[in-house]
Amino acid sequence: MKAWRWLFAAALIVSNTYSLSCAYASDPNAAPAGQVEPFGDDDPFAVINSGIEQSPQESAVAKNAGRGPETRVEVFLKGYGADINNSSPVNPGNRIMQLREYTSAAETRVTISDTIGKADSLRWLFKGFAAGPDYHEADGTQRGKESRIDEMFADWKGDGLFASAGKRRINWGHAQGFNPVNAIAPPRDPLNPGYQTEGQPMIWGNINSSIGAVDVILTRNFDENWNSGKNRWGLKWGYSSADLDFAFYYFDGAEYDDGRRFETMLGASFAAEAAPGVTLYAEGARVANNYRPYYTPTSSTWNKGEGFLQGVIGSSISLGGKSSVFIEYLHNGQGYSNDERVNYLRAVDALLANSVGQTITGDLTLAGLNRNYLLASVKKEYRERYNFDLSVIVAEDRSSSTRAGAAYAISDYYEARISYLNYSGGNGSEFGANPYRGLLEISVKASF
C-alpha cells in the first residue's frame, strides 16, 4: 500500500518536471521545418560597415555643438505662377489689387540664440524675417518687400518656474488647424500654419507643479510698428496625464477708447488617445463681444454685439513613422450665414462701384464667410527623401480651398518643393470669391 503511494507521488513529480522541460523542446514560436527565416541568416550588424563615415558637414555640426550662439538660417528661393480670378467680387477684373501672374521672391529666416548661467537657466533669442521683391503670404496674398522681427526675447527657467519677456510666438490650444482659443497670436492659415511665425510682445510667466501648469501673459495691443495703447492679459491652466491633457483659458483687455468692452475670451481644450494611433481633441471658446460688421441687403452695416462661440473637434491618426492624417470640424459663431455672406458680397460690389471697396475687403477674414468648415490634412514621408502633403478645407457653402505639395530632400541641407493652392466655388462663395483661382509655387530651400 505504501509503495503505490510513493510510486504515484514520484510519477507526479517526474511528469511535471518532464512537461516543464518539454516546454524547452516544443517551442511554439519556432518556425516550422522548411519555412524561410524572414530576415535571413546574415549578420544584422554588417550594414553598419557601409557608408558610416561622418560627412564634413556632420563633423562641423558635432564640432561646433556647445560653442557660442546657435545660429540657424533658412533661405528660400520661390517662383510663383498665379491663375487670377477676374470674376472675384473683391477684385473684379483684377483692377483693385492688380495682381501679377508671375512673381518671384527670396525669403530669409535667421534664428540666433544662446544660453548662459548655471544649467542654461538664461536664454536669449532673435528671429528675423526678410522677403522680397514679391513674396506671398500663406493664403497666397501678394505682398512686396517685407522685413520684420518675428521674435526677440529673453527667458529664464528655474525649478518649476519660467519667465519670458519680449516678442515671442506662443500658440494656445490642442487643435492642429483651427485654434479658437489662440487669442494671443494672430490667427494662422490652417492649410499652412507654419508660415505664420510672427510673435507678439509680451511678458510670460509660468508655474509648473503637481496640480498642473499655470501661464500668465501680459501684453498690449501692439501694431506692426510696436505702437500700443491698451493692456491685454491672459491666463491658462493646464493639466497633463497619460489619458488626458486639458486646459482652460482666459484672455481679456482694457476697454477701447470709445468705451466698448474688450472681447473677453473664455475657452477650454483637451486631447486624449482614443485608440492606439488615434488622438481625439477639441477646443472651444466663448467670446463675450462681437464687433464684426454685418451687412444688410442695402449694404449698411450693423454690429450684433452679443458674444459668440467658436469650437473645433478633430482627430489625428498615425499612419506610422512621420506620416499622419488629421480631420477637424470648425464651428465659427462669428461667421456669416448664407444671407449675411450674400449681403457682404453685395456690399463689396456696391462699394467697389464707388471705389471704396478696399476698406471692407478686410472683412474677408480667414474662415469668416461661413459658420461651419471641415478640414482634412494628410502628410506622408516616403523613403526618407520624399514628403507629400494634401490639405483641404470645405466650407458650408460648398466652396473649398486645397493645398497639395511635394518635397524632395536633395541633401540634409537642401530641399526642393512644389505646391499648388487652389480655390474653388462660385463667385458668391467664400473661397470662390478669392482673388486667385490657383497659385503654383516652386521653391528651393537651404537650411544651415
Binding site: Y24, N29, P44, I48, S50, G238, S240, T279, K322, D412
Partner: protein, 254 residues
C-alpha cells in the same frame, strides 16, 4: 499521521520542482521575470539620469540614406525627452514621453506641441516612440521562459513576452537574452494579428564602455531592404533633471 507526513513531504518536493525550472542538464535557471528584469536593466538602468547623444542611421539596400542626430534626456523609463539636432531641416523637433503612454511631438515649424501615440516616430525609421523612449518591457509584458537557444555563438534564454493589455504597442515579443550576464541580444516584435513585424538586434560596440548596450539594428518585415541603426555616441551620467523638463508645457518654452 505518517500518511500526512508523506503527503506533506511530497507536496514540498512538488513545489520545489515547479520553480525555478530544472533543465535537462540539472542547472537551476532563473525565473522568466528575473531574466527580463536583468535584461531591461542593461538598457534602462545605464540610461537612467543621463544625457545621451545618438545617431539614427537609415539604410536602404545597404546604402546610408539619412542620418539623424538626436539628443536624449533620460530620467527614467517614463520620462524621456528626445530632440533632433541634425539634419538642419528637422532640427528642433522634439518628442517627449511624460509618464506612461503620454507622448508629445513638438514641431518647431508650426511652434506647436501635439499629443501623439506611441506608434508615431520622430524619424521615418523603424523605431517607434516606444522603441526609442521606453526600453523597459517588464511593465507592459508578461514573460514566459520558453527555452534556450544559440544566437550569434552565445547561449541565450528565449522569452515569450505577452502584452498585459491591448494598449501595448505589440501583442508579443520574443526576446533572446544571453545567459550569464543577461545581456539582451534580440527581440522579434509581433502584431495583434500574430504577424512578425520587425526585429531588433542589439550589441555592445564601445571599447570604452565595455558591456554597455549601445548598438541596435532594427529590420522590418514590411520593407526588407530597409534597416535602421541606432548608436549611442556620447553619454553623460548623473545628470539631475528638474521635473518640468519632462512636462508637455515645457515643450514650447525651450
Amino acid at each position: 499521521m505518517k500518511t500526512i507526513r508523506v503527503l506533506a513531504a511530497l507536496s514540498a518536493l512538488y513545489v520545489f520542482a515547479a520553480t525555478p525550472v530544472i533543465s535537462h542538464a540539472g542547472e537551476r535557471e532563473p525565473s522568466a521575470m528575473r531574466i527580463l528584469d536583468m535584461a531591461d536593466d542593461h538598457w534602462d538602468l545605464k540610461l537612467k539620469n543621463s544625457l545621451v547623444e545618438l545617431d539614427l542611421l537609415v539604410y536602404r539596400e545597404n546604402e546610408l540614406r539619412t542620418t539623424y542626430k538626436i539628443k536624449l534626456k533620460y530620467q527614467d523609463n517614463y520620462h524621456v525627452l528626445a530632440e533632433t539636432i541634425y539634419p538642419p531641416r528637422n532640427e528642433g523637433e522634439k518628442m517627449l514621453q511624460s509618464g506612461r503612454k503620454n507622448y508629445w511631438l513638438f514641431l518647431p515649424n508650426i511652434n506647436k506641441a501635439v499629443k501623439i501615440s506611441e506608434s508615431n516616430s520622430l524619424s521615418n525609421s523603424d523605431f517607434s516612440n516606444s522603441d526609442l523612449l521606453s526600453p523597459r518591457l517588464s511593465h507592459e509584458y508578461t514573460p514566459v521562459l520558453v527555452g534556450t537557444e544559440k544566437l550569434r555563438d552565445a547561449d541565450t534564454y528565449k522569452l515569450e513576452l505577452l502584452a498585459k493589455d491591448e494598449s501595448s504597442s505589440y501583442a508579443k515579443i520574443i526576446y533572446w537574452v544571453r545567459k550569464g550576464d543577461f545581456f539582451p541580444m534580440r527581440r522579434d516584435y509581433y502584431t495583434f494579428s500574430g504577424q512578425l513585424l520587425k526585429r531588433l538586434d542589439m550589441k555592445s560596440s564601445s571599447a570604452e564602455h565595455k558591456g554597455m548596450l549601445d548598438t541596435f539594428v532594427m529590420s522590418s518585415v514590411l520593407e526588407k531592404d530597409k534597416k535602421t541603426v541606432l548608436r549611442y555616441t556620447k553619454r553623460t551620467t548623473k545628470v539631475a533633471y528638474t521635473d518640468d523638463t519632462f512636462s508637455p508645457s515645457s515643450l514650447m518654452k525651450r
